[in-house]
């Protein structure tokens, strides 16, 4: 009980927020409602005029043409007015819905730029996309259209009732009493077909999973000659799905004939009563034809309203998902300090950090990197290497302790100032859709053609770029490049900007060792006198570093140059030697 009350109040809350959101369109909304009312009332009045016109056509030589034409002209004018009203209403609705969606998306994308990475890392991309795209659509469609539909439905019902009562009270009451019948029938059927739909979606889910597995890994399927077996497995699930869908579709499609049957019964009842009443003078023939038309029409808005209400609930659910994204607390406000002429003196003092409060990760971490030093981080997965980089770039804020660059705490400088003094290449390569050139100049949009080519040559990406169909202007899609080529492109980006400090997080993991070596040479030249941080899996990548930090469980367990660490004979040495085991003996 209390739960339902709670959800009710929270959906009220959401509804209020939505109203505030579409506040700038309130005049459009009011106009839409007025126009809906106008067009509905006119549409309802037209059958009455037709009834009147028919009443003027009594029998041979008893047709009152002038009166009949009077009604017919009225019909034409009203129909035209109603048509115009509903057209304008449609236009207004379109504008309202599309603009609202646009507003939501604009706001969402701006908000995404300032959300803390902790939020974005925790939520799946697909989930956020579906909020920005699908939920926004459902919200605007469901809420705004639903709202006007609901309104015009109510107006239709009320108008129909008024007009019907004006024609004949008894028949109107009859219709009012009988119509709920078709409701119950529809409800009964849908509650029974629900079970079958569930079976259908279960079968469908199982089949989709099988398809994803077998088609997604089709090469393995073929390599192991598993085609026949997978076909047989598919066939079994397919048969199940067929049964389930057939039942679901059949039972749910019963609603339509069943409600129509009830409506036909009502129709017959109206016809009978009307026909019996006419001789008594309580109704005219034209009046009966109007009542029959209304009997059909009266039902429709009820069905519409019930579907609109589900849609509205759905829209509210979407709205609350969107608002929870838009209301998510943004990153802490930015400082205004700047960094100029960065030397690359990075100091990390007593830094502690945890993603989850009760899971310690980095505890009391200390490190001093003098300008121009190459610091390498090694260690098993999950030891905190990538977290360390998150902290350096201030993607996450430290829980305690300080990180400073050239003696300035990074909390005192703006994020842009901090980040633009680092060049960062991550293992997880990111290529935006667009041309090769657009991808390279991300960090330096004003770069000249020569600079771009120069950077590409230094990062050894020029060889493959040159061979692409349109060179630098080739449009890249998700799969146009191999993983290694993507990494080369990401390195080119950094080569182009030449930032004072460098972060390489498994930046060369998909590149062969020979090319990697050449890239490192290029970096060495570029990075002379600049501090760099390198995370790598391959030990050959890091052995030239000035200082190697061996991390385990969030803290540094060994520290020194390659030679020193080998001499020491600790964890690093075991790690390093394991690559020389001779297997031929």
């Amino acid at each position: 009980m209390s739960i339902s009350k709670k959800t009710k109040s929270s959906s009220m809350e959401t509804f209020k927020k939505v109203l505030r959101f579409i506040g700038r369109y309130r005049f459009l909304l009011i106009a839409s409602i007025v126009l809906a009312a106008v067009s509905v009332i006119l549409q309802l009045y037209v059958p009455i005029l037709f009834g009147n016109a028919i009443d003027e056509i009594v029998a041979r030589n008893q047709v009152h043409f002038s009166k009949m034409w009077q009604y017919l002209w009225q019909i034409l004018i009203l129909a035209a007015l109603s048509g115009a009203a509903s057209w304008v209403m449609n236009l207004i609705n379109n504008r309202m819905t599309y603009r609202t969606v646009q507003d939501i998306r604009t706001k969402a994308i701006r908000h995404i730029q300032v959300l803390p990475l902790s939020y974005l890392d925790r939520h799946s991309t697909g989930d956020i996309i579906s909020r920005v795209i699908a939920d926004a659509d459902t919200l605007s469609d469901g809420l705004l259209l639903g709202f006007t539909q609901l309104f015009s439905g109510v107006v239709t019902i009320m108008g129909t009732l008024v007009f019907m009562f004006s024609k004949n009270v008894f028949i109107t009451l009859l219709i009012i009493v009988l119509t709920p019948l078709s409701f119950f029938v529809a409800k009964f059927i849908s509650s029974h077909s629900f079970q079958m739909f569930r079976r259908q979606s279960e079968a469908r889910g199982a089949q989709t999973a099988l398809i994803e597995e077998m088609i997604g890994n089709q090469k393995v399927v073929q390599a192991f000659g598993y085609e026949e077996k997978s076909s047989a497995r598919f066939s079994r699930i397919n048969e199940e799905l067929k049964e389930a869908s057939q039942h679901a579709i059949f039972y749910s499609s019963l609603t339509n004939p069943a409600t129509r049957f009830v409506n036909n019964l009502i129709y017959a009842a109206v016809a009978l009563t009307g026909a019996l009443l006419i001789p008594k003078g309580a109704l005219t023939v034209g009046g009966l034809s109007v009542m029959l038309a209304y009997a059909n029409q009266y039902m429709k808005p009820f069905n519409d309203i019930s579907s609109v209400i589900t849609e509205l609930q759905n829209a509210l659910a979407c709205a609350s998902r969107i608002f929870s994204l838009l209301e998510e607390e943004p990153e802490s406000s930015d400082a205004s300090g700047t960094l100029s002429d960065v030397k690359g003196n990075v100091a990390i003092e007593h830094v502690s950090f945890r993603y989850v409060p009760d899971k310690p990760l980095i505890e009391d971490f200390n490190l001093k990197a003098a300008p121009g030093r190459r610091i390498a981080l090694v260690g098993p997965t999950g030891c905190g290497k990538t977290t360390f980089i998150n902290l350096l770039m201030r993607f996450y804020d430290v829980d305690s302790g300080t990180i400073s660059v050239d003696g300035k705490s990074i909390r005192q400088v703006s994020r842009h100032a901090l980040r633009s003094s680092y060049g960062m290449v991550l293992q997880d390569t990111w290529i935006k859709s667009g041309t090769v050139r657009e991808n390279i100049i991300i960090g330096k949009p004003e770069a000249s053609e020569e600079e771009i080519i120069q950077a590409a040559k230094m990062s050894h990406s020029w060889e493959f770029i040159r061979r692409l169909p349109d060179g630098l202007d080739t449009i890249l899609k998700e799969d146009s490049l191999s993983q290694g080529q993507k990494q080369l492109l990401c390195i080119t980006r950094v080569m182009l900007c030449l930032p004072p400090m460098l972060i390489l997080d498994e930046a060369t993991s998909s590149i062969d060792t020979r090319t990697e070596l050449m890239i490192q040479k290029a970096f060495d030249r570029l990075m002379q006198g600049r501090t760099s941080f390198i995370v790598a899996h391959r030990l050959s990548t890091i052995r030239g570093a000035d200082e190697i930090l061996v991390m385990k469980d969030g803290s540094i367990i060994e520290q020194g140059t390659h030679e020193k660490l080998m001499e020491k004979g600790g964890f690093y040495k075991t790690l390093y030697n394991s690559q020389f085991v001779n297997t031929a003996e």
């Binding site: 057209w87 996309i129 088609i215 089709q218 090469k219 192991f224 016809a271 980006r493 040479k521 085991v581």
Partner: protein
């Protein structure tokens, strides 16, 4: 579309009966105004209660009959559409399984999955709706016209004019707006894509301080989408008001004509009501038809996409039987093999020749994109050589049946793919009749015994889809074991130890080495330590075979190999340069010139 009609063959009866029963329903619907007219003209005008009550019961009977035939129609439509969809799905699934690797590459799995799921569902819905409703509306529209003729020919002529005009209006609007809807979809895809980019690239965007530009680009496309949406909206918003006005215009003309006819004594008042009702019925149906056509249009597009898949003929053909041949000492040989992927310019492998004796271990090394994977894919005939030939056991690889080929060769691909089910089920992919002992033996060899032993239920441990409940290294070892269960003559490991730490990698190589004698092994790797002890090493550089031989030979003779080796073992370079001081040149010179 005709290509898909085949799958309706088994449901011919149902797909004829469904519209037929729907037609009967229409007949009952159309008779209603006639009955009402009789109520008015005979019952009321003649003040005959008996006729009125009689006609009331006729209405009830017709309602009941209408219910029966319409349920029957629904039943047949559901049966035909689901049955059709099931057969179509199976056919597409089987067809995809016959595609060659280059076809799979070209189409992409995402597309194939969408076609098999969403697209076919849409087609099923379309067929179901089509069978039930597509014929209903024309039946009613034409039926109304026919009935109007039986009432009064002169008035009915108005229907003859009104119907085509209405149809024209509806179709014109749809004809203009449907292609625009497709553009809207395209724009929406772009906006979705940009949203995804902003999320997946958030670190890069922030690192390069590109937030403003990202937002600006998004805004541009967002506004374009809105503009297009509003434009299309203007057009489709016209549909209902326009038909409404037209139909009222037609009705007004109808009533005025009817007035004249009644005045002349050719018609009665009740018949005017009947004509009016027919006109009203028509409006409702025309509007329903319009929305139905939009739905059907969508399914037709989906049907077209499904048909496109079925249209593709599998590119690989295999002989019925493996040609007889005398066994050779040579397990695999390449003779001047050149290979290009379809639709690409430069060949991925050029003029490759080598031969491998049975039982040898062959290492394949080379830079990113040098053609290592392509080479081993040709050994398994996942692709066919563009020029030259690949020999297996002395016989052209194209002369083997698919089954024999798959049996001979065990492949461990780069991407470690496992399937939902128990570990045992996954292992049996290699060989259906493998015993538990054989599976355990393979697991031990692949250094995976410990992993499985630690799992609850061991071989009965359930893997989730793609084996996601294992780590990357664990998955790799299981895929290696799966290939070993097969007990193949030729074993190919395509960089399949990349997620293993050095110690495990070494143990694995040691175990594989013990297989020597019966199994020819190909090891693809970027780590020179992994292939250093192979009997034969093939060095690839940009699609060319730049060196073959043992490690020692290659260090002496092959520049590329030396570079790769030294990049991973710098102290070897020092040793090497010291040994070759007399003839050598400074290492630094080479570095600048790749």
């Amino acid at each position: 579309m005709r290509r898909l009609a085949v799958y309706l063959k088994n449901y011919k009866k149902e797909s004829i009966l469904a519209p037929f029963f729907k037609f009967l329903e229409v007949v009952f619907d159309l008779l209603v105004p006639v009955v009402i007219a009789r109520m008015i003209d005979v019952g009321i005008a003649g003040n005959n209660r008996e006729v009125i009550i009689q006609n009331f019961f006729i209405l009830l009977l017709m309602a009941a009959a209408g219910l029966t035939v319409s349920i029957t129609a629904q039943f047949f439509a559901a049966k035909a559409s689901t049955g059709f969809a099931a057969e179509l799905r199976q056919a597409v699934f089987d067809h995809v399984q016959s595609f060659s690797f280059s076809q799979l590459d070209r189409l992409g799995t995402d597309t194939l999955i969408t076609r098999l799921t969403d697209d076919i569902n849409q087609v099923q819905n379309g067929l179901n709706m089509g069978l039930r409703l597509l014929l209903r509306s024309p039946f009613i529209v034409l039926g109304s016209m026919v009935m109007a003729f039986t009432v009064n020919v002169r008035c009915a002529l108005i229907f003859v004019v009104a119907i085509p005009v209405l149809f024209l209006a509806v179709f014109l609007i749809m004809y203009l707006s449907i292609p625009l809807f497709r553009n809207v979809q395209g724009k929406l895809d772009k906006v979705t894509g940009l949203t995804r980019e902003n999320l997946t690239g958030v670190r890069v965007i922030r690192a390069f301080c590109r937030e403003q530009e990202s937002v600006a680009e998004f805004d541009l496309h967002n506004r374009e989408l809105t503009k297009l949406n509003e434009f299309v909206g203007k057009l489709s918003a016209l549909l209902n008001p326009l038909t409404y006005v037209l139909i009222n215009l037609a009705t007004v003309i109808l009533i005025s004509r009817a007035g004249i006819q009644v005045h002349l004594g050719n018609m009665q008042q009740g018949e005017v009501v009947a004509l009016y009702n027919y006109m009203a019925q028509m409006i409702i149906e025309l509007i329903k038809l319009a929305s139905l056509i939009i739905t059907l249009n969508k399914s037709a597009a989906c049907a077209g996409r499904v048909a496109d898949i079925l249209k593709i003929t599998p590119a690989m053909d295999y002989p019925e039987e493996t040609a007889a041949h005398t066994p050779s000492a040579c397990a695999v040989a390449f003779e001047h093999v050149t290979f290009s992927y379809p639709d690409t310019g430069a060949p991925s492998l050029s003029d490759i020749s080598f031969s491998v004796e049975k039982g040898q271990t062959v290492g394949i090394i080379g830079g990113t994109g040098s053609g290592k994977t392509t080479l081993v894919n040709l050994i398994a005939r996942f692709y066919d050589a563009t020029e030259g030939q690949v020999l297996l056991d002395g016989q052209n690889i194209r002369n083997y049946t698919q089954d024999v080929l798959r049996e001979k060769i065990g492949v461990v691909p780069q991407k470690a793919a496992l399937f939902k089910g128990t570990i045992r089920e996954n292992m049996k992919w290699g060989r259906e009749d493998a015993t538990d002992e054989e599976i355990w033996a393979a697991l031990s060899m692949a250094q995976a015994r410990e992993i499985v032993e630690k799992k609850e239920g061991q071989l009965d441990f359930h893997l989730t889809q793609n084996g996601k409940n294992l780590s990357g290294g664990q998955r790799q070892r299981l895929t290696i074991a799966r290939a070993l269960v097969k007990n193949p003559e030729i074993l190919i490991l395509d960089d399949s130890a990349s997620a293993l730490d050095f110690a495990t990698d070494a143990a694995l190589r040691k175990a594989l080495h013990a297989l020597r004698g019966n199994v020819t092994t190909f090891l693809v790797s970027q780590r020179s330590a992994s292939i250093r002890h192979a009997e034969q090493i093939l060095v690839l550089d940009d699609g060319l075979l730049v060196g073959k031989g043992t490690h020692d030979q290659l260090v002496d003779s092959c520049e590329t190999y030396r570079e790769i080796f030294f990049s991973q073992f710098p102290e070897e370079r020092t040793k090497y340069t010291e040994n070759h001081k007399a003839e050598s040149f400074p290492a630094s010179k080479r570095e600048g010139n790749p």
